[in-house]
């Protein structure tokens, strides 16, 4: 029997001003990270609705990471502060429902932190891969 | 700083609840200290010496027992460092380390004179035998 190598699917929401630029910088510097990471550009991390995160899990994502400007550096001054509260509560709730807490993460990545972006993604993919497939928030209809 | 000193330092910091890193070396504690001239090491030195782990000289110094615990330094410190609590913690360390009290009951009679109020004797005894 042949076992197909398991590759997790990661959705990364990145704010336009810091983290998306940080991801670009990682590219400029040719810093590798797994192709399983797919980035969605949002104006600010505070645009990320918990529904988007759940939607990603429903559709088969194994991990969701939200990246924004460092607290205090938000292009819109306060967006990431709201993100911080919303996600702290949401992640805590997901954990409360027994969803593996390693599947969700918030990371602050500035436009200058290309290296941090790459290491963060490498680390996140590794952690999620070690958990295996997302079974607890899956929708069987969406199975590949 | 060797391990022993490191531990002692950590213990003093833990026991006093004081964070000496918050000190900005303004010297207001020493400026305000009524026992300053009696002391070999002054309040601000307590803070900086504990911070750097230089605790042995403090343990050996008489300054420990010169502090009146009047808390003027605590009140005036703009950073909330609370030197008096640090002095007290070093004092405790000294006593615990020596395993002996600075003042023993049989030493007391020699020190008495008629003018000394009973309350002072009792409080001094309490303080120096901790």
């Amino acid at each position: 029997m042949q076992i197909k190598e398991y590759k997790p699917l990661i959705v990364a929401f990145c704010c336009n001003w810091c983290s998306y630029a940080g991801a670009d910088l990682a590219g400029n510097n040719r810093l590798n990270y797994p192709a399983e990471v797919k980035i969605i550009r949002v104006p600010c991390s505070c645009r990320v609705n918990p529904m988007f995160i759940l939607r990603a899990f429903q559709r088969g994502a194994d991990g969701v990471i939200i990246c924004g400007c460092h607290p205090g550096d938000c292009h819109y001054t306060s967006g990431n502060y709201y993100t911080r509260r919303r996600m702290a509560l949401l992640f805590s709730m997901l954990d409360f429902l027994g969803i593996e807490r390693e599947r969700t993460r918030v990371e602050w990545v500035s436009a200058a932190e290309g290296a941090k972006f790459a290491t963060t993604m490498n680390d996140f993919v590794e952690k999620v891969a070690s958990l295996g497939e997302n079974k607890r928030l899956e929708d069987l209809r969406c199975k590949r | 700083m060797n391990n022993k000193m490191q531990n002692l330092r950590d213990e003093i910091i833990l026991r006093s609840g004081v964070n000496p890193s918050k000190c900005m070396a303004c010297g207001k504690c020493s400026a305000t200290c009524p026992a300053y001239n009696e002391m070999e090491y002054h309040p601000h030195q307590f803070v900086s010496m504990v911070k750097s782990g230089d605790i042995e000289p403090l343990l050996a110094s008489d300054s420990l027992y010169k502090c009146l615990t009047c808390f003027a330094c605590v009140d005036r410190c703009p950073r909330g460092v609370e030197p008096a609590k640090l002095v007290e913690a070093v004092r405790l360390a000294a006593i615990r380390q020596q395993g002996a009290n600075h003042l023993k009951p049989d030493m007391v009679p020699d020190m008495l004179d008629d003018d000394m109020p009973q309350q002072a004797i009792v409080s001094a005894f309490r303080k120096y035998t901790k």
Binding site: L54, G98, I99 | -
Partner: protein
């Protein structure tokens, strides 16, 4: 068991109607049995005297009705509010959901409401009569000749066992004595779940939420859920569905529902009271309340009108999402 009497409430309502202060009364209406009480609008003294009821089964929180009733009514509406209802009342005012000018709020003390399911656990089915007698309920059934005495305390609804406050935070007039905020043990059950392993928690919620029939009673009764159109009813929202087809959709609905009321939920417990499947939905809300209290400082939605809800607020020093679990693990 209730300290305030039916007569005094009727008397108050009749006098306010007659002196023209109010034109209608939102109150509890007698049902078929002694426990199936319906919220109703009374418009005359005769109606009040005939059908108004106040007993240990008057659990319904009227606050939400004010949203629609104040829109329709020209005159003032008298509403009776138990302490826990007043928090919802304030929260709705904070969110500008009804016109305060059109309401005359009478605070009434509450000694806790009984849960008919718990009564039935003790006496079984076939209840023909329930009377209140001091600290007891006297229950007559068609199966037993002699009535059965049940201590009120033993059959209190869960939310009343863990009552958070006997204090009215809003009223125009208060009947009876003002109570106090109570140090309740309402978070104990949340804590118990937190201490389980993720696998156990997952199994627990999988079992509970699988019972959900998506009747939407929890949402429709919730005083915090007053959206003109709920995202779950809106075909353009991307999450709309009429029935949960699988366990994901069950979770989705309940997570988002709880998230939408997080920081706004006053913990009135109506969601769990009305759930036809007895799912302990209040635990999801309480989890958010507990987290909010722990992460951002004690916050009671509806304690005052105009409070800034924790999710529309922040401080520079807030906890990082990644620290949430470190903190809990350290506390455990």
């Amino acid at each position: 068991m209730q300290k305030i009497t039916l007569e005094s409430l009727v008397e108050k309502a009749v006098s306010l109607l007659e002196n023209g202060t109010v034109t209608s009364v939102l109150g509890w209406k007698k049902g078929e049995f002694d426990y199936d009480i319906t919220p109703a609008v009374f418009e005359s003294a005769d109606e009040l005297k005939k059908d108004f009821v106040w007993n240990d089964f008057c659990g319904a929180n009227f606050s939400k009705y004010l949203v629609s009733k104040t829109c329709k009514s020209e005159g003032k509406i008298l509403v009776f509010l138990k302490p826990c209802d007043t928090y919802s009342f304030n929260q709705l005012l904070t969110e500008h959901r009804f016109d305060r000018e059109k309401v005359y709020a009478v605070g009434i003390p509450c000694e806790g409401m009984a849960d008919i399911n718990k009564v039935k656990e003790v006496v079984g089915d076939g209840i023909s009569k329930i009377e209140s007698n001091g600290d007891d309920l006297v229950v007559t059934t068609i199966y037993e000749d002699a009535p059965v005495k049940v201590t009120c305390k033993d059959v209190l609804a869960e939310r009343c066992v863990n009552c958070k406050s006997k204090r009215h935070v809003a009223y125009d007039e208060l009947l009876g004595e003002e109570g106090e905020v109570i140090a309740s043990e309402r978070f104990d059950e949340v804590e118990r779940l937190e201490k389980m392993t993720p696998e156990e928690r997952f199994a627990f919620w999988q079992n509970e939420l699988s019972k959900c029939i998506r009747c939407n009673a929890c949402r429709d009764v919730c005083p915090a859920c007053t959206c003109e159109k709920c995202v779950f009813d809106n075909p353009n929202s991307g999450v709309e569905n009429k029935a949960a087809s699988n366990s994901f959709e069950e979770k989705m609905f309940h997570i988002i529902r709880a998230f939408h009321v997080a920081g706004r939920c006053t913990d009135c417990g109506e969601c769990s009271r009305v759930c036809p499947q007895n799912i302990p939905l209040h635990l999801l809300n309480r989890k958010f309340i507990k987290d909010i209290n722990e992460f951002y400082g004690e916050y009671q939605a509806g304690a005052e009108v105009g409070l800034r809800a924790p999710l529309v607020d922040y401080t520079l020093e807030d906890l990082e999402p990644g620290e949430v679990f470190d903190r809990r693990d350290n506390n455990a």
